[in-house]
């Protein structure tokens, strides 16, 4: 049995934003175990008030550098839902392709740069450039491909320029899109190699039962819009998002927090797969099973595996999307926009989980009220409860201080938290 330990991590590394971990064990008893969010708020919801609708997607993208495309698309959907605009099939396909490539970019960044160093026993990706050059090269190739496609479709990989209410300012080049189709095909080999790499990782065997929330794909894999569901059987409409998120504040966090049927729930890749395993493409399903990911999986460390499975899913789907896009002549990039008084809600699955934007408009199309509920804010309480449980688990196993510290860091990293985004 572990007699005592005192872990105090200020500003955890290799995560986006600022959070602290504290674990104190005395005489085999856990005295303290916490996850704290200390990020400074930027007040985006207040900033939007009084602004004309076209500012909303442009500003909201700046909530987060990693998932700026997801935020931009959620904000656009909220505006379009508020005004009663239905995007064309072409726009829908392009947006989904863009979002898939952000997911690929974000997941690869997390898997290789943020999570993998722990599994390979180093402090960052830098030593891996010498010890595992092939691994680093395959990660960079995948990330570059995803970012190149984001540039082509969205205009810019970070804070996209072409994405606007009503569609796009301009369309990608058809020829280059065809070339990207070939590069996506070729990237499957790098993803295969990633799967082999994962087989060599020993994922900590830790379980804590919780509730998982995601969009419902209805047999498809879910991405933009639709019903909200949980593994505890809750089903809600997109517009009823507030009943799904139930935001509250606590003194340990500058981010708002969420709960549903239990004291906390989880969103993200693992939640999506736990709710929508049936919607995965056969090749992605095979990989999930091979890596031991079968729903409902309650091991939070498995989120990294779920992300890898999703990488395969989005690459395959993107190839199909490009085929569909290239099979038909293209329409105008942008539809006319007519403002309307009302409320628009958007739910979008972004890399770290389900993201909601809600905008209230006056008759002139200016924002009267804004609300953004971020995936990581929904995860914070669940992370905190996981840390509590992990401390008990470690105390019982008599692990060394360094081991406990590393496990706690890996646990938080597994969620791929985007903390500045969660506080926004």
């Amino acid at each position: 049995m572990k007699i005592s330990c005192d872990i105090d991590i200020k500003h955890l590394t290799r995560v986006e934003g600022h959070g602290n971990i504290r674990i104190v064990i005395q005489d085999g008893q856990v005295r303290e175990a916490s996850w704290e969010v200390v990020e400074t708020p930027r007040f985006f919801e207040a900033i939007l008030v009084g602004k004309h609708f076209e500012n909303a997607p442009y500003l909201c993208g700046r909530i987060c550098g990693i998932c700026s495309i997801g935020h931009t698309l959620a904000s656009i959907r909220a505006v379009e839902n508020g005004f009663g605009i239905m995007p064309t099939v072409q726009t829908q396909r392009l947006r989904l392709l863009l979002k898939h490539m952000e997911t690929l970019q974000s997941h690869i960044l997390h898997i290789y740069f943020l999570a993998a160093p722990d599994y390979l026993g180093v402090g960052s990706v830098l030593p891996l450039t010498r010890s595992h050059p092939a691994v680093v090269q395959q990660a960079l190739r995948l990330k570059l491909l995803a970012n190149d496609i984001c540039d082509e479709v969205g205009g810019r990989r970070l804070h996209p320029t072409r994405t606007v209410v009503g569609g796009f300012t301009m369309l990608p080049d058809r020829y280059r899109l065809g070339q990207f189709r070939q590069r996506l095909q070729a990237s499957l080999a790098d993803l295969d190699a990633s799967v082999s790499l994962f087989r060599s990782f020993s994922i900590p065997d830790f379980q804590r039962e919780t509730e998982f929330v995601s969009l419902n794909g209805n047999g498809d894999y879910p991405f933009i819009g639709g019903d909200l569901i949980s593994t505890d059987g809750v089903v809600k409409k997109e517009q009823e998002y507030a009943a799904m998120t139930n935001e509250y504040m606590a003194e340990w966090s500058t981010s708002k927090l969420s709960r549903l049927s239990r004291k906390s729930f989880a969103v993200g890749a693992l939640a999506r797969i736990n709710n929508n395993f049936a919607g995965l493409l056969p090749a992605a399903k095979v990989i999930a099973k091979e890596l031991g990911l079968i729903p409902i999986n309650h091991n939070p460390f498995m989120n990294v595996v779920a992300q890898l499975v999703e990488c395969v899913q989005v690459v395959l789907e993107s190839m199909q999307l490009i085929d569909d896009l290239l099979a038909v002549p293209w329409q105008e990039p942008r539809q006319a926009v007519e403002v309307r008084e009302g409320i628009g809600v958007a739910a979008v699955e972004v890399p770290r989980g389900i993201l909601y934007h809600c905008l209230h408009f006056d008759a002139a199309g200016r924002v009267v009220k804004a609300d953004c509920v971020i995936p990581t804010s929904q995860n914070h309480a669940n992370i905190r409860h996981d840390i509590e449980e992990l401390a008990v688990f470690c105390a019982g196993q008599g692990k060394k201080d360094k081991e406990i510290e590393l496990l706690a860091e890996m646990l938080v990293r597994a969620y791929d938290p985007c903390i500045s985004c969660s506080v926004h």
């Binding site: 590394t13 995560v15 008030v49 009084g50 700046r62 550098g65 740069f113 970012n147 810019r156």
Partner: protein, 266 residues
């Protein structure tokens, strides 16, 4: 400095650099990782001792500090002063650090209490008026943009390492846009701040058919009076023009002059 790298056969010092972030989206730091094709070459130019988003090791010995984000809380001012005390050279990375960025849009309201309440209701939360780095410490070099342009950062860092002088373009984005032979956004009926904004992004947004929002701040000798006339002639409302001018904080003086007073939240 360590001297195990060479440039054209000449030993080059590899300065120790640290990356830091205050209130921001961390997008500017991410842009550095977004350099897949040249990332490894770039990394060999400098010795990174601290990059919290990417590495666990956290060295306290650095010569150059790259700081992203703006100041929104007292503890950030303290952190900033500590970094300044340790670094020989402080670089403000991105528009949040240079001008306050999108974060400073909350300064446009006359009542900070309303801002807090609008987001947190009655829950007590600590925040202050948003400030750029230069309001609190001496900044040696500013790299503009929301986000920063990676090619520009590489150019500047290379110049720093080789001890060359650093030049920012003196002309506006509009010139870069003309050079790229784009269709003028005004001809498409869209507002654009290209005529008054500092170049260096290679007309990033207009080349994607989005009018410039002025993220890099004013070009030297920006003629804002003339911009107002162009906008009016093209039938673009003062509100749309002001939305762009006030977005990133670079044109704050002009905006304050035109608006005269702050806004009520409600």
């Amino acid at each position: 400095m360590t001297t195990n790298k060479t440039f054209l056969g000449v030993p080059v010092a590899r300065p120790k650099v640290g990356f830091f972030e205050l209130s921001s989206c961390e997008g500017c730091q991410l842009q550095l990782l977004n350099n897949e094709a040249t990332l490894l070459d770039f990394l060999s130019l400098v010795e990174i001792v601290r990059f919290r988003e990417g590495m666990k090791e956290a060295g306290d010995e650095y010569e150059i500090a790259f700081i992203e984000g703006s100041i929104t809380r007292a503890d950030e001012e303290e952190r900033l002063k500590n970094i300044r005390a340790k670094a020989k050279l402080v670089v403000a990375l991105g528009s949040c650090a240079c001008f306050g960025g999108v974060n400073q849009l909350k300064n446009r309201f006359n009542d900070l209490e309303w801002v807090k309440k609008e987001v947190y209701s009655s829950f007590p939360i600590d925040t202050q008026e948003v400030k750029p780095l230069s309001a609190v410490i001496k900044v040696d070099l500013e790299i503009y943009g929301c986000p920063i342009k990676k090619e520009e950062v590489e150019r500047i860092v290379t110049a720093l390492v080789l001890g060359e002088e650093i030049h920012h373009p003196q002309y506006p984005v509009c010139m870069e846009c003309k050079a790229r032979e784009n269709i003028c956004l005004f001809d498409l009926g869209e507002p654009c701040l290209g005529p008054v904004t500092r170049a260096g992004c290679d007309a990033w947004c207009p080349s994607n058919r989005l009018g410039c929002w002025g993220c890099r701040g004013p070009a030297p000798e920006a003629n804002l009076a003339r911009l107002q006339i162009i906008m009016a002639e093209r039938g673009i409302s003062p509100e749309r023009m002001m939305d762009r001018l006030e977005c990133f904080g670079g044109f704050a003086d002009f905006v304050a002059e035109v608006k005269g007073k702050k806004e009520d939240g409600r």
